[in-house]
């Protein structure tokens, strides 16, 4: 090899060097970070005294963002693996409905209802993935079919079984259930009560809960969001499987030839997405005590938007879970912030569209810098 070693130290005079700072900054999450800073700056300036940054206000947009995060993590990993899932929203409706039917209508113990529902969702996710892999059809089409099929059943089932499309009373049957508490409870309630007493956070001034702290704990929803983001981030960046996810999405054929079990990776990611949707639905059912046939409408788009704002590439092979989480945060803060700021609420959609456009353009620019893509 001696004859080639001579080129070893030849640096390419045709490429300008990038500064170290610039290189440290240029990461997939950069767009998300910039967006987050921009959004917070904006609302700090224009809606500071609207209550948005009181403890209650913070809890308010945190909860909404956490919701987006839960589905964004699944959508993000799936998107990096090169597929996407339009049936997330219908899956949310479907799984919530299944829990309610199993526990309320059929009277099963809640923990069993939850476990069976999770199993069912994961199987449907696997089916989605299996069809995509076996037929080679775009996941857009396959999951679009499931969007309709699942929503159809979500409306049809309670209608024929219970003659309703909202089934309530889940909270009552879930009282004291160990598994339900994992989804519907709150943690650190003692700490918040103490903080309230110590005057560190506001307390209610009137009404039934006078004297209690306005925020009385961290809902499990947020805990789940944090756990899933951390899990997803570590899985993606620190494990062998994470490398396979990137590879499967970057070029399935090349990955397969290099020994990456692409089909398995993709199907598992479909299952994980279904799992996340199911977590979302379970938290929602446990918090609100009811399941409705209209739950989760358009959530698939919201998940995809959060992920894309967070810098992932729609065509796969590139992205970051942290970015997706920041995307979800931006989404949640903007949505709630506009209400705090008192903007006409129907304009929210307009803002969302514009932010989406700007975010992807920024992210595309960053990605090109990183990957040298043309």
């Amino acid at each position: 090899m001696s004859q080639t070693a001579q080129s070893q130290t030849v640096s390419d005079e045709r490429v300008k060097e990038m500064s170290a700072l610039r290189r440290a900054l240029i990461r997939p999450e950069l767009g998300g970070l910039v967006g987050t800073v921009a959004v917070f700056t904006f609302f700090l300036l224009f809606a500071f005294d609207s209550g948005m940054f009181s403890s209650q206000g913070v809890m308010n947009w945190s909860t909404v963002s956490a919701q987006f995060m839960i589905i964004a993590v699944g959508a993000c990993l799936l998107m990096i693996a090169g597929e996407f899932d339009l049936s997330v929203g219908s899956m949310i409706g479907f799984s919530g409905m299944m829990i309610a039917i199993l526990s309320v209508t059929l009277g099963w113990p809640v923990w069993l209802a939850i476990i069976v529902t999770f199993a069912m969702c994961i199987v449907i996710g696997a089916l989605n993935g299996y069809i995509v892999i076996r037929t080679g059809l775009p996941s857009f089409i396959v999951t679009l079919a499931f969007l309709f099929i699942l929503r159809g059943f979500t409306i049809y089932l309670p209608q024929t079984i219970e003659r309703k499309t909202i089934i309530s009373g889940v909270r009552d049957v879930a009282e004291g259930d160990w598994l339900a508490a994992l989804f519907g409870g709150k943690i650190l309630t003692g700490f918040f009560t103490w903080m309230g007493q110590a005057g560190l956070i506001e307390t209610f001034e009137r009404g039934t809960r006078e004297g209690q702290p306005v925020v009385d704990g961290i809902p499990m929803l947020i805990v789940w969001a944090i756990i899933l983001v951390i899990f997803g981030h570590i899985l993606l960046t620190r494990t062998r499987f994470g490398n396979w996810i990137f590879a499967s999405g970057g070029d399935a054929e090349a990955a397969r030839n290099s020994g990456v079990p692409v089909s398995r990776v993709k199907i598992l990611m479909f299952m994980f997405t279904a799992f996340c949707a199911c977590v979302f639905a379970t938290c929602q059912v446990m918090e609100f005590g009811s399941a409705g046939a209209d739950r989760g409408l358009l959530k698939e788009f919201e998940a995809i938007i959060a992920v894309v704002i967070g810098g992932a590439l729609l065509t796969g092979g590139y992205g970051s879970v942290i970015g997706a989480a920041l995307g979800a945060l931006i989404f949640g803060v903007v949505q709630q912030g506009l209400f705090f700021a008192g903007v006409e609420s129907s304009l929210f959609r307009v803002f969302l569209g514009i932010i989406l456009l700007f975010a992807v353009i920024l992210n595309t620019y960053i990605r090109r810098l990183i990957t040298g893509e043309r």
Partner: protein, 289 residues
Amino acid sequence: EGERYVLVSHAPDSDSWWNTIKNGIALAGEQMGVEVEYRNPPTGDIADMARIVEQAAASAPNGIITTLADYDVLKGPIMDAVASGVDVIIMNTGTPEQAREVGALMYVGQPEYDAGLAAGMRAKDDGVTSFLCVNHAIQQPTVGERCQGFADGLGVELGESMLDSGTDPAEIKNRVMAYLNANPDTDGILTLGPVSADPTILALEENGMAGDIYFGTFDLGDEIVKGIKSGVIQWGIDQQPFLQAYLPVVIMTNYHRYGVLPGNNINSGPGFVTADALEMVEKFAGEYR
């Protein structure tokens, strides 16, 4: 015996309020020995609904029971149906005058604007001065009328107080909280059905305003009934959907069998359900109430 009727609604598949309607026609169908089908545009698109009315007419039923969600859109198809020999009864939305215009036999329902107006006047008497209207179906024009009526009843401008809340419960809850946070002087809330009422109850419980703020809602459901019982909700406007579904079937069947027809329209609502006399309501909320 065995007459066939079709009920056409304007509601999207997911709107749970229409269950009571479905249960009403099922019961009436069973009792009268007739067949009643329920149809609706899956996305709630009223132009699609017009096609369904046309379709229903083409399938030559004995009668059609339909809402008049948008007079302009539905006028033509309904008049065609009437002209081709199908009897029509208007239910739920619309007004008695419009029902007459299109040649329907009668009208059974609760004019949305009037119901809102009545509610607004009642709230005004109870001392409400500013309000939040939580609209979970901003794209459906009819329900928005309620907010307008309510505002007129109160004698205030609707302005920014109609909130486009979406249908996701967590978002509704948090948007309501955000709004109340940003507009602390709001002293009344109007929700337009269980979809927006249930999360609003939770929002009020969470921010401590439950029972403190004036809260009225349209339509009934499990949670709403509980809310009325516990004092969080002052009243629910019951337009008695059961009657809106049940009566037209019964009336139409009797008209076809024996030629009898009530001489007037029937207003099934607005009836204010308050904490008194909740027992029956509680038992059948969401099913027959």
